[in-house]
C-alpha cells in the first residue's frame, strides 16, 4: 500500500511540475472540481466540416464561461472527440461515462450516431443534450427521458420552407422529384416531405435514395430530366447537398431546385452563382439580433471567419446547460431533467426565447426560410443568403410548425 501511494504521489508531483513548466497551472489547480462534459461530433466524413464548426462553437462558449468564473464556482472541461460513425459514437459515449467520469453528454450532427448515443444515455440513466441531429424519429418513436434535442427537427424544416413555397404557389398541383439521403435522417425527411406534399396538394412523381458516399450525381440528374418535374427537391445531408447544387448548376436543368435541409457551411462551399431556390436554416450570422451580433463578432475575432449554424447551436446549447446547472446548483441528472422539463425559457440569440417542450424534449424555436441574394448584392463570400422572416410568425405559438401530439408517437 505504501509503495503504491508513494508512486502515485511521485506521478502526481511529476505531472504537476510538468504541467506548471508547460504553463497550464489553471488546469491542474481546478482538476478536482471541474464539471466534465463529454462532447461527440463528426469531425470526418460527409458531416465533418459541420462538426468542425460545432467544436469551435462549444470551445468559444466554454472559454467565455470559464473566464467569467465557471458555473457554480466550477470550471467547465469539455472532452471533445470525433464520433466517426454510429457504433464508434456509442463506444466513445460509454467510455466517457465510465472512464472519463463526465457529468453528461452533448453533441452530434449525424442522426444515426445520435440515436446510438441516446441509447447509451438511457442505459446509463445519464443526460444527453442532442444538439445538431434533425431526424424526427429521434424525438418521435425513439425519444427517451434522458435526451433533449436542440436543433429543429425535419418536420419544422419542411414546414419552414413549405410555407414559403405555398406563398409562391409552388406546391399545389406541382410535380416534385426528390433526392433523398439513404440513412435515417433522409428517410425521415422524405416522410415529412410526403406529409407536406399530401397536405398541400403537391404531387411527388419520383424519389431516388442516394448513398451518403455518392459524389457524382449525373445519372440522377438525367433521371430527373426524364421525369420532367416542376420542382426538384433535395432531402440530402452534409456536403452531398453542396455536390448536388454544383452539379445541378453544371447541367443547367430548367426546373427550380429547393431543399428541406442545408447547413450554411455547405452553402458557402457551393461556389459563386451555383446556389438557387428556397432552403431552411435554423440560424444565420447576419441575423439582426444584438446578442447574435455580439456572438458573431466574438467568434470572428477568435477564428477569423464567421460562425456556421452548428457553431451557433453548440454555443447556445452549452449556455442553456450552464443556466440549468446554475439554477439547480447541481449536475445531477434527475434535477437537470426536471429543470429543463419545466419549459423554462432560454435566450438563444434570436428575437424570441426558446423552451424545451416537456413531452418530447424538443426545443421550440424560430426557424427561417432563405433564398439566395442576387448576384453582386453579397458583401463578402459568406454573405449570399437573404434570410426570410422568422417562422412561426411573431403572433403564432412557437409550437405551430412542430409535429403535433397526433403526429408524434413519442412517449417518455
Amino acid at each position: 500500500m505504501t509503495r503504491y501511494n508513494r508512486r502515485t504521489l511521485l506521478k502526481a508531483g511529476a505531472t504537476f511540475a510538468g504541467a506548471s513548466a508547460l504553463g497550464f497551472p489553471a488546469i491542474v489547480r481546478a482538476q478536482a472540481d471541474k464539471i466534465k462534459i463529454g462532447h461527440l461530433t463528426p469531425l470526418t466524413g460527409f458531416l465533418g466540416a459541420l462538426g468542425t464548426y460545432a467544436q469551435l462553437g462549444i470551445r468559444l462558449v466554454a472559454e467565455e464561461i470559464n473566464a467569467s468564473g465557471g458555473v457554480i464556482g466550477r470550471q467547465l472541461d469539455i472532452l471533445s472527440e470525433d464520433s466517426v460513425n454510429p457504433s464508434t459514437a456509442a463506444t466513445k459515449a460509454q467510455r466517457m461515462l465510465d472512464q472519463d467520469g463526465v457529468d453528461f453528454l452533448m453533441g452530434e450532427i449525424n442522426s444515426a450516431s445520435a440515436l446510438t448515443i441516446m441509447q447509451v444515455a438511457e442505459r446509463n440513466k445519464r443526460l444527453f443534450v442532442q444538439i445538431g441531429a434533425r431526424s424526427d424519429a429521434l424525438r418521435g418513436k425513439n425519444c427517451n427521458k434522458y435526451t433533449f434535442h436542440v436543433d429543429i427537427p425535419n418536420t419544422v424544416m419542411v414546414n419552414a420552407v413549405g410555407k414559403a413555397l405555398v406563398r409562391e404557389k409552388m406546391v399545389k398541383d406541382k410535380k416534385f422529384f426528390t433526392l433523398t439521403a439513404d440513412y435515417i435522417f433522409g428517410h425521415d425527411l422524405l416522410n415529412a416531405a410526403k406529409r407536406f406534399f399530401a397536405a398541400n396538394g403537391g404531387n411527388l412523381i419520383g424519389d431516388e435514395l442516394v448513398a451518403t458516399d455518392v459524389t457524382d450525381f449525373s445519372p440522377y440528374l438525367l433521371k430527373i430530366r426524364q421525369a420532367q418535374p416542376d420542382v426538384v427537391c433535395s432531402n440530402l445531408a452534409g456536403n452531398q447537398v453542396t455536390t448536388l447544387i454544383k452539379q445541378y448548376a453544371e447541367f443547367g436543368l430548367p426546373y427550380p431546385i429547393v431543399g428541406f435541409n442545408l447547413n450554411t457551411a455547405d452553402a458557402w462551399a457551393a461556389g459563386d452563382g451555383n446556389l438557387s431556390g428556397t432552403w431552411p436554416t435554423v440560424w444565420y450570422h447576419t441575423l439582426d439580433v444584438p446578442a447574435s451580433k455580439t456572438f458573431v463578432a466574438n467568434f470572428i475575432k477568435k477564428n477569423g471567419k464567421p460562425p456556421e449554424n452548428h457553431a451557433w447551436i453548440e454555443y447556445i446549447s452549452l449556455k442553456i446547460m450552464a443556466q440549468a446547472i446554475n439554477e439547480t446548483q447541481s449536475t445531477d441528472t434527475d434535477k437537470l431533467i426536471a429543470y429543463l422539463e419545466k419549459e423554462t425559457e432560454f435566450d438563444i440569440l434570436k428575437a424570441r426565447k426558446a423552451y424545451f417542450r416537456n413531452w418530447d424534449h424538443q426545443l421550440m424555436q424560430e426557424a427561417y426560410p432563405f433564398t439566395v441574394k442576387p448576384k453582386g448584392k453579397a458583401k463578402d463570400q459568406w454573405d449570399f443568403i437573404a434570410l426570410g422572416a422568422a417562422v412561426p410568425g411573431a403572433n403564432e405559438p412557437l409550437e405551430s410548425l412542430a409535429p403535433t401530439r397526433e403526429q408524434n408517437p413519442c412517449s417518455l
Binding site: T52, P219, L222, N239, K246, E250, A269, G271, D272, G273
Partner: protein, 291 residues
Amino acid sequence: MQFGFLLEQVVNGLVLGGYYLLIALGLSLIFSVGGIVNLAHGAFYALGAYASVEFTRYLGFGPAVVLSPIAVALLGILFERFILRRFYTADPILSLLVTFGLAMVTEQAIRIIWGAAPLSAAIPPAFRGSVFVGDFLFSRYRLLILAVVAAVLVFVWLLLHKTSFGRVVRAGIQRPDMVAALGIRLQPYMIAIVMLGVGMAALGGAFFAPITIVHPAMGAEIITVAFVVVVIGGLGSFWGVVLAALLVGVVRGITIHFLPAAGEASIYILMFLVLMVRPRGLLGERIEKFE
C-alpha cells in the same frame, strides 16, 4: 423512349469513366513499372484540386488547370526521390504502409492548411449549362473534361508506344532484369512515370474541383474507385485501364437507372465478376515479376 434514356446514361457513363481514367491510369503505370501500390495517389488528386482552387483565385481557371498538375508533378519528384525509391525492391507491404501513411498525413495537412470546411469552386461561365446533341443532354463542362481526357490519353499512348522512352518503360514492366542487363537504369524513367501519374491525378482534381466538393477527404473517396478500375482492367495494359474505366462509368449509370440503391455497389459486383472469369483483369498481361 426508354431506350433513348438508357443510351443517354451509357454516354454519360462514358464521360464519367473518362474522369476515373485520369486517376487510374497513373496508378496503373506506377504499379506496373515500380511494383508499388500507391495508396497516396488520391492525395495527389486532392492536392491538385486544392492547388487549382488557389491558382484560380489569382490567375483564373485556365492557368489554374495547367499550373496545378505541373506543381503536383514537381511534388512527385520529391515523392519518388525520397520515398518511393527506397521501396522498389522491398517487401510490397512496406510500400503499402508508407503510401497509406502519406495519404493520411496529406489529408491532415490539407485539414490544417485549408481547414475542414470544403472550399468553394465554380465552373467558368463559358462552360456552364448543357448542350443538346439530338435529344441527348450533355453538360458542357463534362464535354470539356472529355476532350481533355482524350487529349491526355493520346499523349500517353504516343509516349508509351512511339518513343524510345515508352519502349524502355514497356520493357521495364515485362523484363526489368533484361533492361538492366542492357545497361539501362530504370530509375530516371521511374521519376518521369511518377510525375506523369501524379500529374494526371492532379489534372483530374483540378477539373473536378468545380463540380465536386473540394474537401480534405476527397482523395480517399476517389482512390477506391481508381483501384477497382485498375484491377478490372488488368495490370500493364493501357487499353485494359481505358476499357475498365469506361465500363465502370457505364455500369454505374445503368444500375442507377434501373436500381438506384445498388448504384455504388454495382462497380464492386462488376469487379467480382471480372475477377471470377479473368483473374488478371480484362486485358491484363502475364507479368513475371508479379506472379
